[in-house]
């Protein structure tokens, strides 16, 4: 399905006009990209945990830490053994 077809589907399903849907899509997209950029900066050591907490909240910060630790241990296990 093309982007135009998806947009038409949303217009018919939600009863909202195209401009409103596009504005919301941009909002959602930018929010997602911003969140990813903050997480990426944190994982690369360019952003503090305090900043991560402030920007994304404790639940997401904890999830990021857990995922990072899981991947770090995975690679460590792969390289060094049990």
């Amino acid at each position: 399905m093309t982007l135009t077809e998806k947009l038409s589907y949303l217009v018919s399903q939600r009863g909202e006009d195209e401009a409103t849907l596009l504005a919301r899509a941009v909002d959602t997209g930018v929010e997602t990209l911003y969140r990813e950029a903050v997480i990426e900066a944190y994982l690369a050591g360019r952003c503090s945990r305090e900043a991560l907490l402030q920007e994304l909240g404790p639940a997401i910060a904890a999830e990021v830490d857990q995922q990072r630790e899981a991947l770090r241990r995975d690679v460590e296990w792969g390289l060094s053994g049990v």
Binding site: I39, Y42, L43, Q66, Q67, R73, D74, G78, V82
Partner: protein, 179 residues
């Protein structure tokens, strides 16, 4: 390649690593073990996903696949361990098997909730990324194969890893020497 890592003997697994490695055609990475044990509910999940144990035996890089029947008729073994509300029934069975082994056997999982429970018991949890890295470390694949497999795992498999974590993993393995 000279390596300090050895092929370890046996591991327990949930559905995730088997499914994800199948999706990128790298089931052979499970051959870092000699035997993979899965509980009945995991075998059932795999079957529902089009991966019946009979179809994947022989594709695990030399590892034997063993399906263990639950001890209880209901198949909900694992509930007695407690704090398992976040775990799926199949993962509860994996946890029960791990408990039976006193958490001495590594548990293969990409599920963070199961990983947390295993690590709380001082067990070792290993995900698909770790299996691929170990496979490389043991000289079972080349560096370029590892890079391709990790990229594929994160972009094509149902593991669904977001861009920041993809970059993080690639950074972690960036400096590994080639064979």
């Amino acid at each position: 390649m000279s390596s300090g890592a050895s092929r370890v003997s046996k591991a327990l697994s949930d559905t995730g690593p088997i499914l994800h490695l199948h999706e990128i055609e790298r089931l052979d990475a499970l051959g870092v073990f000699t035997q993979i044990e899965v509980p009945a509910r995991v075998a059932l999940e795999l079957e529902r996903l089009g991966l019946p144990p009979a179809a994947i035996r022989g594709r695990l890089g030399g590892a034997e696949l063993v399906v263990t029947a639950p001890r209880t008729e209901q198949g909900d073994e694992g509930d007695e361990i407690g704090e398992n509300g976040l775990l799926q029934p199949a993962d509860r069975q994996v946890l029960a098997l791990a408990s039976r082994s006193r958490f001495r056997l590594p548990v293969l999982t990409d599920d963070l909730a199961l990983r947390r429970r295993v690590e709380q018991e001082s067990g070792v949890a290993v995900g698909s990324v770790g299996l691929l890295v170990r496979s490389f470390k043991l000289g079972r694949c080349r560096r370029s194969d590892l890079d391709q497999a990790v990229e594929a795992l994160m972009s094509r498999s149902s593991l669904h890893m977001s861009r920041p974590f993809r970059r993080y993993v690639l950074e972690l393995i960036r400096d590994l020497a080639d064979r």
